[in-house]
C-alpha cells in the first residue's frame, strides 16, 4: 500500500503500523511527532495505530528557532 509522508509517497506492507513506517524511514520515534490524517498521535499510539492505504502523515521534529 501507499502512504504519504511529508508529501512523499512511501510504499509499505498492508497493515503496517506507524512504528513500521518510522523504521522504514530510519527515524527515531522519540524525536518525531506524527500527525496522521489530521490527528496528532501520542508516542504510545505509534505501535498500535494501523496505517491505511492513502494515509497522509506529517512527521515533525524540533529544529533550531528563535
Amino acid at each position: 500500500m501507499k502512504v504519504f509522508c511529508n508529501g512523499q509517497e512511501q510504499e509499505l506492507t498492508p497493515g503496517a503500523w506507524v512504528t513500521d513506517c518510522l523504521n522504514t524511514l530510519g527515524l527515531d520515534p522519540l524525536s518525531v511527532v506524527v500527525e496522521c490524517d489530521g490527528k496528532i498521535l501520542t508516542r504510545e499510539e505509534y505501535a498500535s495505530h494501523e496505517l491505511q492505504d492513502g494515509s497522509v502523515l506529517e512527521l515533525i521534529r524540533f529544529v533550531g528557532g528563535g
Binding site: L25, G26, V32, V33, R43, G64, G65, G66
Partner: protein, 255 residues
Amino acid sequence: MLTIAGRKFRSRLFGGTGKFSSPEVMKEALEASGCEMVTVALRRIDLNNPADDIMSVLDRDRYLFLPNTSGARDAAEAIRLARLARASGGGEWLKLEVTPDPRTLLPDPIETLKATEELVKEGFKVLPYMNADPILALRLQDAGAVAVMPLGSPIGTNQGVLTRFQVEIIISQAQVPVIVDAGLGAPSHVAEAMEMGADAVLVNTAIAVAGDPVRMARAFAMAVEAGRIAYEAGLGAVSKDAAASSPEDGLGFLR
C-alpha cells in the same frame, strides 16, 4: 530571582537556537550564555536527511525547552503547532508567535489574543510574542499569559529597543514578567532593556550570527547582568540642565 509560572530562573537571558553554523557552536554558545530556557521551532523532517537532528546535542535537564509557533500566520495554525509541540514532548511552555506578514514578521495582535485564550484553556503556559502595545499586554495578561514578550524591533533586524516608550509603559503596568524579545542586536541593547526594568530578554540572531558566537554569548550574559544590577541599584534622574559633579563652593581663591 526571576519566577515565571512558578518556575525560577537564575539567568535573565533566554537563548534562541536558530541560525547557528553548527550544533556544536550552538551548544557551546548556549553554555557560555548561562541561559536556562531556549526556544525551539517545529518543522517537517527532511526525509532525505533524517539524521539532521540538531536538538540531539541539547541537554533537556539543563534547558527548559520553549517551543515556538514560528511560521503560524493565524490563530488556528499557531494552535496546531502548539499541540504538535506538546505531543513532541515539549511540555506546556509555549512561545506564541503569529506573524502573517513575512516582510515585517510583526505579530498579529488579534490572532495572538485569540490563540492565547484557547491555549490557556488547554493548559499551556503561554508567552506571547507581541508588538509593544501596552493595552494588548494587559489583554494578554488578563487572558492568562504567564509572561508577555514585547518586541524591541522586528525579528532578526539587530536594531535594538526602538519601542522604548511603549515598553516602559508595559513594564510599569504588567503583573506578569516582561521579556523583551526580537531585534536586540548588541549587548548595549539588552543592557538598555534590563536597565528599564525588563524581567528578561530573549536573544537569538545577534549571538548566532556573530563572528565568535561563544564570546558574544558571554558578552550578552554580562550585559544582562549589568543592566539588571543597574536597575536594582536605581539609576540617577535624567535632566536637561547640567549639574556639576564637583563642589560649587570653595572657588573664591580663583577670582
